[in-house]
């Protein structure tokens, strides 16, 4: 009966995916891309040259498969560091573990990847390595992942680990970032401000943004904290709550009525006045980044390390600094753009699967990311400033990793995505779209979320 139910459930998940998934389309440049789930299946069932049985492994976000390599090599502009990294990982695996037969799965990213992985996990046949970002803490807390070996834990900065409820490291990111404050030096100078002056506090930032906005006469704006009604908003807002020593809650708790949450939301609302109406809380992020990078009429942007490439590409005279702190606040930030990987408990050849992760964490492979201004987890790289001495963004980010430990967005035991949607739309976006009393906004959302956590 149990087996029958399992089969029916797997069928159901497959049917749901067929109905709702559509073709796999990589969500952004930050994730491996290529074909529609194609793999090196033509290599299946081979034996090695010695005639022994090859160890079969598979993984998502692990390395490029043949089709992805072909697509990357066909690009007119040549290979990006992103391409080079995933090709290098595959090469490392092939050289160091010739007895492995690895299926490099391209299951997309975000929801698509989550759906496919859950279907495989439910079927009892998960990939050797699973990957993800916002949903990986849920995997860790659900007890479906194998704890990371100690050598991996010891080698990486703790911010790059996901731990379960008991504090056991379950997944590691081979790339990530935190949020920083990017600024347009020319716009600051045009407003009569010293572009080299440090912006250390919320007050400094607010004053600078106000001056730019006032001098901008409706053409140039200071910019504030984006509150896009999706994860793009909550990811960028979260560091400011953490700087105040608070967060939205987590597990089975929601914490919206905390006075520190309300104070932070008041600051977010005040800063939103330095955006053109509707830009900082638009569902489409694009216009804001375009205003910062291309049309260059927004002076400040809260973004991850990838913003540096956008500023360079558009010949901006730019600078970067750690996020300003509130008075009496503490260092706080939020991991973003991370690709976490872990080994499911039900995976076959688990020890070998961890070798695949070790190949991803190999120093010479991770150094490739530095070319793209992407932060990497190895302590040996983070501690060696000479590797990124000429990159101001990495200097700021790596220093932050040396000084503090950060996590991604907090996760909730039940209805995680739905709760975050309420926070994104009915708290953050509503705070900046309306003049409704913030305590009322928080009380209403708190009540609704409490119902979802029961």
């Amino acid at each position: 009966m149990k087996k029958l139910v399992s089969i029916v459930l797997v069928l159901m998940l497959l049917l749901s995916l067929a109905a709702c998934g559509g073709p796999d389309t990589p969500s952004d440049e930050g994730t491996p891309s290529g074909d529609n789930g194609a793999s090196t299946s033509d290599q299946k069932d081979k034996t090695d040259d010695a005639g022994g049985e090859k160890i079969k492994l598979s993984g998502t976000q692990l390395g490029y498969n043949d089709d992805q390599i072909a697509a990357a090599e066909a690009k007119e502009e040549g290979l990006t560091p992103h391409d080079e990294y995933y090709i290098a990982v595959r090469k490392t695996i092939e050289e160091e573990y010739p007895n492995y037969e690895v299926e490099y799965l391209d299951w997309g990213w975000a929801e698509t990847l989550d759906q496919k992985q859950r279907a495989a996990i439910t079927a009892g046949d998960p990939p050797s390595v699973v990957a993800g970002e916002t949903f990986m803490p849920t995997y860790a807390n659900s007890g479906i992942l194998e704890p990371l070996p100690q050598d991996i834990v010891d080698a990486v900065n703790p911010s790059f680990l996901i731990k379960d409820k008991n504090g056991v490291p379950m997944a590691v990111a081979h790339k990530a970032s935190i949020f920083m404050l990017f600024y347009n030096k020319k716009l600051l100078a045009d407003a009569g401000l010293d572009p080299e002056a440090e912006i250390k506090t919320w007050e400094d930032w607010q004053n600078a943004a106000r001056t730019v906005t006032e001098k901008g006469n409706g053409e140039v704006w200071g910019g504030g904290i984006p509150t896009f009604p999706h994860f793009g908003g909550s990811l960028r807002a979260t560091p400011f709550f953490r700087q105040k020593g608070t967060d939205f809650g987590g597990g089975s708790e929601i914490n919206l009525t905390d006075p520190k949450v309300i104070e932070t939301l008041e600051f977010i609302r005040e800063m939103n006045a330095y955006f053109p109406a509707g830009l900082g809380n638009n569902a489409d992020e694009g216009p804001l980044w375009e205003a910062f990078e291309k049309t260059q009429n927004i002076a400040f942007a809260v973004n991850g390390s990838w913003q540096a490439a956008g500023a360079e590409r558009n010949n901006m005279d730019w600078g970067v600094a750690p996020l300003p702190l509130p008075e009496g606040g503490q260092i706080g930030n939020c991991m973003v753009g991370a690709v976490y990987v872990g080994v499911p408990k039900d995976a076959k050849n688990k020890e070998d699967a961890f070798n695949l992760i070790r190949a991803q964490l190999k120093e010479e492979n991770l150094k490739i990311w530095l070319e793209e201004t992407v932060c990497v987890p190895l302590k040996s790289i983070i501690d060696n400033e000479s590797l990124y001495a000429d990159n101001p963004t990495l200097k700021v980010a790596m220093e932050a990793f040396r000084e503090g430990t950060y996590t991604g967005l907090t996760t909730f035991d039940k209805n995680d995505a739905q709760i975050w949607e309420i926070i994104n739309t009915k708290v953050l976006a509503r705070v900046t779209m309306t003049n409704d009393p913030i305590d009322q906004i928080c009380a209403e959302a708190q009540k609704e979320i409490e119902g979802l956590l029961k």
Partner: protein, 305 residues
Amino acid sequence: MEKTLQLPAGIKKRGLTRAQREARRAYMIILPYYIYIAFWSLLPLLIGFFLGFTEFDGLSGLPKWVGLENFRTFFATNEYLILLWRQIWIGMICLFFNTVLSFLLGLALNVNFRIRGFFRTTVYVPSVAAVSTTTAVVVALLSPVDGGLNKFLEAIGVQPIVWNYSQFWMVFWIVVYFVWRSIGPAAIIWLGGLQSINPSLYEAARVDGAKRWQEIRYITIPGLKYIAGYIILTGVINVMQMFDVVMFISRGNPYGKTDVLMYRIYRDGIQSFNLGMAGAQSIVLGIVTIIFALMYFRFIVRSED
């Protein structure tokens, strides 16, 4: 020359009647399609129904039977009922405008003019264009700062509008997009109905001195009763399942004010993986849709019979 097989003497023929043989042949023809439809539609429907009585996240173990708990949550939580109500009223606005405007378009397409064929093709194009692509154009047009619509308003001296701050405007654009996309196929069906009406009825009416409006009132509309039944019934089902337009154009914003139940089912199901709750909502929405369809049949179609 046709040969007829004769049964041996003493054996009484107990075969099927001709009608039964034809029916069997017909069933054999549709069997592969039936199996296909059963596999892709009926099975998920049954599984979805079953899931409505369970708690299941697709990750940690098998579904846990919780009986009517999900339904209790649905009816005890004001939020779900608001979403159901919003699905109904936004859907009905879409359905009303789509039905009326497609009828008028069908009438226009029925008039003889030189490039009628071109227009008939043109009105159908929006329905075959990809929703994700066309909604991206709408979203770009609605962008608050550099969006095409606000640029236009500025050009004519009107204050730009922050569309995404307003429930009214987001519902307005959802309806506009829905009608733009759905009007073509409905107009073509209306047109088919219009062309099936016997022209001699119009000729007779004209002989009797009927005006154009009277022709429509006494000949066209009664003649299109069953076409109207089809368009409205399928329309009810469509709008009660509408979520892609909402997802792409407003994402339920501003702050949840354009969120609808079907979009919530999608999110509960494959974002939150609260599959039990998604199943329960689907059952409720399905029942409401059936009630609407039956009401339409009972009070509109049958009463006119």
